[in-house]
């Protein structure tokens, strides 16, 4: 398979209510280009699903949105990513407040080897969000409730977070992320390590979270994309092929590559 020359993204990559906007983004790992000229808006209170075959750059793209790629030395980024019309790659921008605004949930549940309470309280603590112990308790409770974990863990808040089941751990990680009250949540295949029941719970949760947050989710499961997202972006070899409302992508894809992928001809 080859790159499509002079490709222009099919569909409607831009949004009138853009929260995060990528403009002509190229990402390089050393000499290798992983993302080719991607422009995409992520609208407020919308869930956008990024799908595509393995190695197509969807995770890489997601990680550019809160500068997680900064930790990789050889990673180089061109183009602009605007959060509320401010370029987050501006040299003046500090990654600490940026990541407080754009939170991230990872593929593998990665709770800190601390108690459940300390896991959720960590973000508010380092950012100084709670003025008192009581306020911190409230934040922890609220976050756990919103992540749908409160009833399961309220009696053992001081038990280690690593002792929870995989699905619970992932919801703990989501609670930890929303405890900082971010504006955007990036999710990198959050259900790939979970069983169907835990996956269903997380999907339900994503749907609830949409009311308050802007969510970008990378997924390998097309059913999941269809269930949770409003818009779907299809990546192929580092190029953004098509962006359209989810219903449309899965019923009448415009681009032939998208169609090939969702009908299972490759990937």
């Amino acid at each position: 398979m080859q790159l499509i020359e002079n490709h222009k993204t099919t569909g409607i990559p831009l949004s009138p209510k853009a929260k995060l906007s990528a403009r002509n983004v190229d990402v390089f790992y050393g000499d290798k280009q992983a993302i080719h000229d991607v422009s995409l808006d992520i609208g407020e209170n919308e869930v956008i699903a990024l799908i595509g075959p393995s190695g197509c750059g969807k995770s890489t793209f997601l990680r550019t949105l809160n500068r997680m790629n900064d930790t990789i030395d050889i990673c180089n980024i061109k183009g602009e990513i605007l959060l509320d019309n401010e370029n987050i790659y501006d040299p003046k921008v500090d990654t600490v407040p940026l990541r407080a605004r754009v939170g991230m949930v990872f593929q593998k549940p990665n709770p800190f080897p601390k108690s459940i309470y300390d896991n959720v309280a960590y973000g508010p603590r380092i950012h100084g969000l709670a003025q008192s112990r009581v306020e911190l308790d409230e934040t922890v409770e609220k976050s756990l409730q919103r992540a749908g974990l409160w009833n399961e863990v309220k009696d053992r808040l001081h038990a280690p977070g690593t002792g929870l089941s995989g699905g619970q751990q992932q919801r703990l990680c989501i609670a930890r992320t929303i405890a900082v009250d971010p504006e955007v949540i990036l999710m990198d295949e959050p259900c790939s390590a979970l069983d169907p029941i835990a996956t269903a719970k997380i999907e339900e949760l994503i749907d609830d979270l949409r009311e308050k947050y802007t969510i970008a989710i990378v997924t390998h499961s097309m059913q999941q994309a269809a269930r949770v997202s409003q818009r779907t972006a299809y990546f192929h070899l580092g190029q953004l092929i098509e962006v359209n409302p989810t219903d449309q992508v899965f019923t009448t894809p415009q681009h032939e590559l998208t169609e090939a992928y969702i009908t299972g001809r490759f990937g």
Partner: protein, 444 residues
């Protein structure tokens, strides 16, 4: 099914006679199976032999040292009643400490034995006095210093015997002491009378643990060396742990990846392999000649051993930091933690067990180190127990080295005894390292 199998094997036997290429896959696998199993058995055997050999060496070493060294924990002494004659000593109950120190306790002991044993002639007298350790006078002096009211009374005391007597008594009236002419017929006769009267016996050797070094084997102890070792290790730990951990964190987390960092890294690895005596030379050139640190002190020893242990600690600390799963870092970065927060809230606590283990192993290495300390004068003969890090002192391994050089048989015993003590220190430290690692290890 069975039929086809039979035909198959039949054709294959025919095939083997011509070429092996006609065999079925299953037959090829079965042919190679025997070879693979043999290789496995062979390898297992090699492993068992090497483990057995290692254990054998260890057992031989330990039994040898233990058989030579355990006798050091017993010391022969003579229980006798002696009158502390104020007239002879020239002191009374109210004498000053200074006067008591200069009183002639040696003479008192000689007079006591001359009267009770009644040797005939000067030669016999000299032989008799040689049986008693010079430490006996010191024992009496200590007794009077502790309790001046004992003057003019008769006290029962276990007087320390000379090392030849000690060796002869402890080693089943050992012939080599007699054969070497260390004890004469007359001396043996006196000793036998004392044994018959139940006066001569061996007791637990507390002096070995409370005394410093001495020219007299029966008075030589490891207290000075142990104290020196502890002080030296304290200096080493206080300096090398923070420096080593800080260096490891910087190199692993903060240093830019460039040529200079690379050179630093290579050199740290090289330093770990530098012969330890070189560090002694370096310490001599820098700490003594340039900074004028006093020789033979735990401070200097600690500085030199710090140079030696730093690479070990840095390397193990870096390995511990590297072993922290990247997912934990990502989680913290993803929440907006700054680099410092990621390192000090997450990486460091998770790497700590590994760092501590590395440090303890480094300390254990420093504990057994002799060569660099020889270069900086810790090989001196130091009788006093060091009080602090600027007092002259020696350390256990150097003490062992010193004693092993002495001709007296009793020092051989002390060498092995000190080795036993050193080994038990090492075992304790390594066990602590293992326990610490188990305890602090967190799973994720």
């Amino acid at each position: 099914m069975t039929n086809s199998k039979a035909t198959n094997s039949k054709t294959s036997t025919e095939a083997t006679t011509m070429t092996t290429t006609n065999l079925t896959t299953r037959e090829k696998v079965e042919l190679s199976l025997a070879r693979r199993r043999a290789a496995e058995t062979r390898f297992r055997l090699y492993g068992m032999v090497s483990v057995f050999f290692g254990m054998l060496c260890l057992v031989v070493l330990f039994t040898d040292i233990a058989s030579k060294g355990t006798s050091v924990f017993k010391q022969t002494s003579l229980t006798t009643e002696i009158t502390l004659d104020s007239g002879y000593l020239g002191i009374n109950k109210d004498s000053s400490i200074e006067d008591i120190r200069f009183a002639n306790f040696e003479g008192l002991i000689k007079r006591h034995f001359a009267k009770s044993v009644k040797p005939k002639g000067r030669k016999a007298k000299r032989e008799l006095f040689k049986l008693i350790s010079p430490g006996a006078a010191w024992q009496l002096q200590e007794l009077v210093l502790a309790n001046p009211t004992a003057i003019d009374s008769t006290v029962t005391i276990e007087l320390l015997m000379d090392d030849d007597v000690d060796q002869w008594f402890k080693h089943d009236f050992g012939n080599d002491v007699v054969d070497n002419g260390r004890l004469s017929e007359q001396q043996l006769a006196w000793l036998m009378t004392w044994i018959e009267e139940g006066q001569l016996d061996s007791h637990f050797n507390t002096l070995f643990f409370t005394n410093g070094d001495s020219r007299e084997p029966e008075l030589a102890g490891i207290h000075g060396a142990i104290k020196g070792t502890l002080l030296t290790l304290m200096v080493t730990l206080i300096l090398s742990f923070p420096i080593g951990v800080a260096a490891a964190i910087y190199l692993e987390e903060f240093a830019p990846r460039n040529r200079i960092t690379e050179i630093v890294e290579i050199n740290i690895n090289n330093l770990a392999a530098v012969p330890s005596i070189i560090f002694g030379l370096l310490g001599m050139a820098i700490f003594i000649n340039i900074f004028g640190v006093a020789r033979s002190t735990p401070l200097l020893g600690g500085l030199v051993l710090t140079l030696m242990t730093l690479p070990t600690i840095i390397i193990s600390a870096r390995a511990a930091i590297k072993a922290v799963p990247p997912s934990i870092r990502e989680a913290a970065y993803g929440l907006g933690a700054s680099k410092n927060q990621v390192v000090f809230h997450h990486v460091l606590p998770l790497a700590m067990p590994g760092m501590l283990t590395g440090t303890i192993l480094g300390m254990a290495q420093a504990l057994g180190e002799t060569a660099p300390l020889l270069m900086i004068g810790m090989v001196a003969f130091v009788v006093d127990v060091p009080g602090f890090i600027n007092d002259p002192s020696t350390v256990l391994p150097v003490q062992i080295f010193l004693w092993s050089d002495s001709p007296e048989r009793a020092f051989l015993e002390r060498t092995s005894g000190a080795i036993l003590v050193l080994l038990s220190f090492l075992v304790v430290m390594n066990t602590t390292a293992v326990i610490l690692r188990r305890r602090l290890e967190r799973r994720w």
